[in-house]
């Protein structure tokens, strides 16, 4: 197996971005990182700066106000970069679908690699999504 691909699939560092979520999904993302679920098993570390991250974890429907910021944060990340949309809101707009102030889901703004539906997406689902993303990276 290719060493670089192996390294990439073993060490995905994430940055968490809230694009207008109700905080339900954010709590679940944080829960997935805490001792009970422990995403660090897969080498996942939560990073503060987009320059360090490989995966941007987006929660919530993208409001028109945060759209440009989401784009900017995405562009600040060094490639190869991946996007995880957590929660039904981030996948399609969810309960806020067809609101006048939304873009209806993350994939209208930046390309999404993994969708994790659920309102709120449970930590198990997030871990499942992370594992699928890692399989895709090492692919």
């Amino acid at each position: 197996m290719n060493v670089v691909k192996w390294a990439r699939s073993k060490s995905p560092w994430i940055i968490h971005f809230n694009t207008g979520s109700c905080n339900g999904c954010d709590i679940e993302v944080v829960a997935a990182l805490t001792p009970k679920f422990d995403l660090e098993r897969f080498g996942v570390l939560l990073k503060g700066s987009p320059r360090h991250a490989d995966v941007i974890v987006v929660t919530g429907p993208v409001t028109n106000q945060v759209k440009e910021r989401l784009k900017r944060v995405y562009e600040q990340m060094p490639s190869p970069k991946f996007v995880m949309a957590i929660g039904t809101c981030a996948c399609s707009g969810g309960v806020f679908k067809d609101c006048y102030n939304l873009c209806q889901g993350v994939d209208k703004v930046i390309p999404v690699d993994i969708y994790v539906p659920g309102c709120a997406a449970s930590p198990e689902a997030i871990i499942d999504g992370a594992a699928k993303l890692l399989k895709k990276i090492s692919g």
Binding site: W6, A7, R41, F42, G43, G48, S49, R51, H52, P78
Partner: protein, 320 residues
């Protein structure tokens, strides 16, 4: 017969030089992360190699293979050079501390002072690195790095003099050997100095209670915010080398360095002693939350400087 120059070259390159130190750096990062994870009742890195032991290596390779961004506003030359300079400085500091053999790769009478000097330069390079990236987060982080240095530098230098006074030598290698030959280990005779040194080193390597310059809840990633790809890989490697540096310094000054009985190779003793020191450091990291800036500075000046002075007074009075 292999010429002596080639052997010397290989010893700098492989053992106990670069390759040995890098392997050890990755190993100790894994020990640190795994130990903290177990203290928090987690597994820690698990799937990269057996027990996740290859995790730091995977991180390093991944960062090397990533895009390397230099922000348009950054001071380009300085921004590119400082990570390399930091790694070089950390490595050259480590060459003056005995690691694999009972003597350091290079040593002379007075290298104790030289090592304290290199450690301060390392901090100043950090400030330049932060400054050259011109981002607000990095600049504030860089200022905090220097602020932290104002705290830890004085007590650290004072307690490092303690062993030198008793063993009547200013060379780290000789201090370590003196402890072994006389059986007078400073960890027993100068316990205050040992505690103060470990706390100061914790601030020097910017680990948890003193990770004020990186404070991710306030400053994104602090002084490293703008570094990515290869530069970040070098900076992380520097951090790991500094972890060995901390372990090796405590080992050499207070635990007798890489020496021990029964003719067992000295590197074994080095590994055992440094791992012990690093476990203490990781334990403190898991135990404490980050201090505020004023608590950190006040704590160093109000408590650690007097304690360090007390230790030196005791030493000059013949106790220790």
């Amino acid at each position: 017969m292999v010429p002596a120059e080639i052997i010397e070259f290989l010893s700098v390159l492989i053992y106990p030089g670069f390759i040995f130190i890098f392997t050890l750096a990755f190993f100790y990062e894994w020990v640190d992360r795994k130990f903290v994870a177990r203290l928090q009742n987690r597994y820690g890195p698990l799937y990269a190699g057996p027990g996740g032991i290859l995790q730091p290596f995977a991180d390093f390779i991944k960062l090397l293979a990533k895009e390397d961004i230099t922000p348009r506003a950054a001071d380009k030359t300085t921004f590119r050079v400082t990570p390399i300079l930091m790694l070089a400085l950390a490595l050259s500091t480590l060459f003056f501390i005995p690691t694999a053999y009972t003597t350091a790769v290079s040593w002379f009478e007075g290298d104790l002072i030289f090592v304290t000097f290199l450690v301060s330069i390392l901090v100043l390079i950090t400030l330049i690195a932060a400054w050259s990236s011109t981002s607000t987060f990095s600049t504030v982080g860089g200022i905090r790095v220097v602020l932290q240095m104002l705290g830890f530098e004085i007590p650290m230098t004072i307690v490092m003099v303690g062993p030198a006074i008793v063993s009547k030598t200013l060379s780290i290698t000789n201090i370590a050997l003196w402890q072994y030959t006389t059986g007078h280990y400073f960890a027993i005779y100068q316990p205050i100095g040992l505690i103060v040194l470990i706390i100061c080193l914790l601030a020097e390597i910017k680990k948890a209670p003193f990770d004020i310059p990186e404070a991710e809840s306030e400053l994104a990633a602090g002084w490293i915010t703008e570094f990515s790809g290869r530069k970040l890989a070098l900076i992380r490697l520097t951090t790991d080398v500094e972890l060995i540096l901390a372990g090796a310094l405590v080992t050499a000054l207070f635990l007798g360095g890489p020496t021990g009985p029964f003719g067992i190779p000295s590197v074994i003793f080095f590994l055992i002693k440094t791992t012990g020191v690093i476990l203490v450091i990781s334990n403190l990291r898991a135990l404490f939350a980050r201090f505020r800036i004023d608590q950190m500075l006040g704590g160093f000046w109000k408590y650690l400087v007097p304690l360090a002075l007390l230790q030196i007074i005791l030493v000059t009075l013949g106790v220790g």
